[in-house]
């Protein structure tokens, strides 16, 4: 369950990165549709956070430690909203690039989460 979510979130994050990268390439700021995309990716990360905590509550142990696992889950959840707010403050292509960078960061976090859980 968690592994499937990790893969889904990573793919969604990369898709978001490509989409916002495309907007930046066309010299456009992030628009409503981009924010809906960010909401979807954030929702996936939130589900992952909940599922991760449920798994911990059921007594399963991540390979590299519970603290690190929870820290990464929270970081993954906060990643896209933070970048989204920054793109609200920066209504140029650079706001779009920031969200694209956020997507890449989230994808990297997912790879790390996969390792930490012990996939």
């Amino acid at each position: 369950m968690l592994d499937a979510l990790t893969v889904a979130t990573a793919v969604a994050a990369l898709a978001l990165a490509a989409w916002c990268g495309w907007a930046a390439y066309r010299d456009q700021p992030t628009k409503d549709w981009h924010f809906i995309g960010m909401a979807v990716v954030t929702l996936l990360a939130l589900v992952q956070l909940v599922v991760g905590i449920v798994q911990l509550a059921r007594g399963e142990k991540p390979e590299q430690g519970t603290t690190i696992f929870v820290a990464y889950l929270i970081g993954a959840f906060a990643c896209i909203p933070a970048a989204g707010f920054m793109s609200l403050a920066e209504r140029t292509r650079w706001g779009s690039i920031t969200v694209a960078a956020g997507g890449v960061v989230l994808a990297v976090l997912q790879v790390r989460l996969y390792d930490i859980w012990g996939g």
């Binding site: 690190i68 820290a71 970081g75 920054m86 403050a89 650079w94 920031t98 960078a101 960061v105």
Partner: protein, 142 residues
């Protein structure tokens, strides 16, 4: 690339987070979270394993934090302070990077700056250079 006309600048304070600066703040912010939380966990749980490496990660986190704060705050003094810190950061990455390669036994565990930041996609070595270019460019014309 046209800058938006809505640039409301308070007189006397250079805005450092317009355009590319916003991306810099984001990447620096990520590095702050990465370095600070990593060193906090490591120092709290296994400091004896590699004291030097973990302390260096903590220092790196502090430097990143200060640069992020300077960028967000803006102004000429903050710009200069950030420039100095970026130079320090670059020196740190190059020194620690070389040190980890020359004497791996001093570092039983990796720091943020090990191998020139390879574990962080070389961002630690690319970031200060980019930031220094940006900070030089945003100097207030006198």
């Amino acid at each position: 690339m046209a800058e938006p006309a809505e640039e409301v600048e308070k007189p006397g304070r250079t805005r450092l987070i317009g355009g590319p600066g916003m991306l810099l703040v984001w990447v620096y912010g990520v590095m702050v979270v990465g370095a600070v939380s990593r060193s906090a966990v490591q120092i709290a749980t296994e400091f004896d394993k590699a004291p030097l490496a973990y302390s260096l990660s903590a220092v790196a986190g502090l430097v990143y934090g200060f640069i992020t704060y300077s960028l967000v705050r803006g102004g000429e003094t903050a710009r200069k302070a950030a420039l100095v810190c970026c130079a320090a950061e670059l020196t740190g990455v190059l020194t620690v990077g070389t040190w980890t390669l020359a004497d791996p036994s001093a570092f039983p565990d990796a720091t943020v700056w090990s191998d020139y930041g390879m574990g962080y996609l070389f961002i630690p070595v690319l970031l200060p250079v980019t930031a220094m270019f940006w900070l030089r460019k945003s100097r207030t014309p006198n």
